[in-house]
């Protein structure tokens, strides 16, 4: 299958996964393995480098690209400070910007996210901003140097699927950096849907972490993402209003005049 390039890295897998909400950290290495993912996000606020057992980084294999996120940041300035701290702590130079000033719906603050993208991209970070799917905001993030743009499919944790479909499709069509659908993906078919739409990748956490068997669910997502991507590359057949008979009424016209 075709590969995905983000921030100079060439990725085989188009499934990114999150590490929050799991019943135990010990399950995370198995989930990473069965998902086939190469990029794993974790909240920097949960990283405890002083405790080997409690440190989430202990459970992430070395060949995985770390995508620390700025969860907990209420504005651009806090996101920038958390990102710098992540780099200083040895989490690499990728960062998912999460600026949330609404604790009720956990919807991202696009304006502050744009500001943080500007600062961090200039400082050499590979910046992946999490955002509400808005075309002008996405364009500004792209201009500011975002390596990819991550619109939400539905409010985080809801498992409600690609409810923002029309708006995400516009971003896919108009934004030049990869679009990674993040948040709201509740089942493998939702992931496949995003991929069929032309999203370059998806990020999944809640749907895997809170399922009864996270390891198997991660594999299911991996397969769905591959299926969706293959379908996109093969160009889906057109949809029609009416059923199309296999011997259409006008078929005789193709048989040549006799």
């Amino acid at each position: 299958m075709d590969k995905l390039t983000i921030g100079g890295a060439i990725l085989e897998s188009r499934l990114l996964i999150g590490t929050g909400k799991f019943p135990s950290k010990k399950i995370i290495p198995e989930v990473i393995k069965s998902s086939g993912t190469q990029v794993v996000t974790m909240a920097l606020r949960r990283v405890d480098i002083e405790s080997q057992e409690e440190n989430i980084l202990t459970y992430i294999p070395e060949d995985i690209i770390l995508l620390p996120n700025t969860s907990g940041a209420r504005n651009a300035e806090e996101a920038v400070r958390i990102a710098r701290l992540a780099r200083a702590m040895g989490c690499g130079n990728w960062v998912k910007i999460e600026v949330i000033s609404d604790n009720k719906y956990l919807l991202p603050d696009n304006q502050e996210t744009i500001k943080a993208t500007q600062v961090l991209a200039k400082e050499g970070f590979v910046v992946l901003p999490y955002m509400s799917p808005d075309l002008m905001a996405a364009k500004r993030m792209e201009e500011a140097g975002a390596a990819a743009v991550m619109p939400l499919g539905a409010p985080i944790g809801t498992n409600r699927g690609i409810r923002t479909r029309e708006l995400v499709q516009i971003l896919i069509d108009e934004i030049n950096v990869p679009i990674i659908v993040d948040a709201g993906i509740g089942k493998p078919s939702d992931a496949a849907e995003a991929m069929e739409m032309g999203a370059e990748a998806v990020l999944v956490n809640t749907a895997i972490a809170t399922s009864a068997d996270p390891v198997k669910m991660a594999e299911a997502f991996s397969l769905a993402v591959k299926a969706g991507r293959l379908a996109y590359l093969s160009k889906l057949g057109p949809e029609r209003q009416y059923a199309q008979a296999s011997s259409p009424l006008t078929g005789f016209l193709n048989e040549g005049e006799k």
């Binding site: 909400k21 019943p23 135990s24 405790s51 907990g72 209420r74 701290l85 000033s101």
Partner: protein
């Protein structure tokens, strides 16, 4: 300037008994199917009728908790640094008239205590004092916080109510969370149980969480001391208070504690009993009304109950608790505020949470 007091007055004259009499089981089932429920629907979930549908409520609450918080429980422990108190609260062991061993930790003792707690892996600490601006002035608390910063990633305080400027000062020093209970929302009972002392000022305490929000506190944890009044009313006003704060200060993480009165030094007779079933009903109704709000359960509750509450919407639990001043290290401890029920240490709590299929979280913030 609007305050939660206006909100309290709006509902205080409501005829609760009459309202409850009209709630039906069909109403409850309908409410459980809704995405967002109103204040009156919240009250319906606190009704006697809703008690018949606790399992349905539990299923809904569990689903909402998983969505918002996943399978994760944050662990913390309280650290009592002083028990001097000038208040006369009829229900509290620190009551100025109680003849107990009073103690205030020196900064060196605080550091020893902090090191001992941090050794257990905890990164979130809750600092407590009694209310005595003379014995434990803000400057003392600020100095304590500066020491605790070296050992902990998240510092919350549970002390006497401060002004907005004072909240800014402690935030500046490294505090990110405030816990303050109104104890009882009913103004008349409040006046009755707070016999003397600055705590008699109902409104100054009621507005303390809001002042902290204004000062940009990250986490604000409120609650009513269950047992001082009829619990349905108190749970209702606690939920309304949390909702008021969250709507007005959307970037603050609001949490609710559900503390029940525990045995303590001194005698308090007027207890309204809150049994386990009622405690569960409060928790479920609160979770369904406020899916995004944190719920804290302390070691006031028994091991068995705490373990069973985990899947119902708890987000924070204390562990390895001592309510004595210097209880983690000191040879001469100050007397405790109340007796704890769940005496498990941090490692045991961690195993218990894992056994329930949940992840114990030690660190959910960072000093930066």
């Amino acid at each position: 300037m609007m305050s939660f007091y206006d909100c309290y007055l709006e509902y205080n004259d409501l005829d609760f008994e009459n309202f409850f009499a009209q709630v039906t089981e069909a109403d409850i089932l309908r409410i459980l199917r809704k995405n967002k429920i109103t204040e009156y629907e919240f009250l319906a979930l606190l009704s006697p009728v809703a008690e018949n549908l606790l399992e349905d409520m539990a299923q809904r609450a569990r689903q909402l908790s998983l969505q918002h918080f996943g399978k994760a429980i944050l662990l913390f422990t309280p650290m009592y640094i002083a028990n001097h108190c000038v208040n006369k609260c009829s229900y509290c062991g620190f009551n100025v008239e109680n003849d107990i061993a009073r103690k205030k930790l020196s900064l060196e003792e605080i550091e020893r205590e902090a090191a001992a707690i941090a050794e257990t892996g905890l990164r979130h600490i809750l600092v407590l004092t009694g209310e005595s601006r003379k014995e434990t002035p803000l400057s003392y608390i600020v100095n304590a916080i500066k020491i605790l910063r070296k050992y902990f990633q998240s510092i919350s305080i549970e002390i006497y109510p401060l002004t907005e400027e004072e909240y800014q000062e402690v935030i500046e020093a490294g505090v990110d969370g405030l816990t303050i209970y109104q104890e009882v929302y009913d103004e008349k009972i409040y006046d009755k149980v707070h016999l003397a002392g600055p705590k008699k000022n109902y409104k100054f305490r009621l507005d303390a969480p809001e002042r902290a929000c204004k000062a940009k506190m990250r986490n604000v944890n409120i609650g009513a001391l269950l047992g001082l009044n009829e619990w349905r009313r108190e749970a209702f006003f606690t939920g309304l208070h949390a909702s008021y704060l969250q709507n007005k200060y959307p970037d603050v993480e609001i949490s609710i504690s559900l503390p029940r009165i525990r045995p303590h030094k001194g005698v308090f007779e007027d207890v309204y009993l809150v049994n386990d079933r009622s405690l569960v009903q409060i928790m479920l109704a609160t979770r369904i009304f406020l899916p995004y709000v944190g719920i804290t359960i302390s070691t006031r509750e028994s091991q068995r109950l705490r373990d069973n509450l985990i899947p119902l919407g708890v987000t924070k639990m204390s562990a390895g608790v001592s309510t004595e001043v210097g209880g983690h290290t000191s040879a001469t401890k100050g007397d405790s505020q109340f007796e704890i029920a769940d005496k498990r240490n941090v490692a045991e709590m961690k195993e218990a949470i894992l056994a329930k299929g949940y992840q114990p979280v030690f660190k959910n913030w960072l000093q930066f």
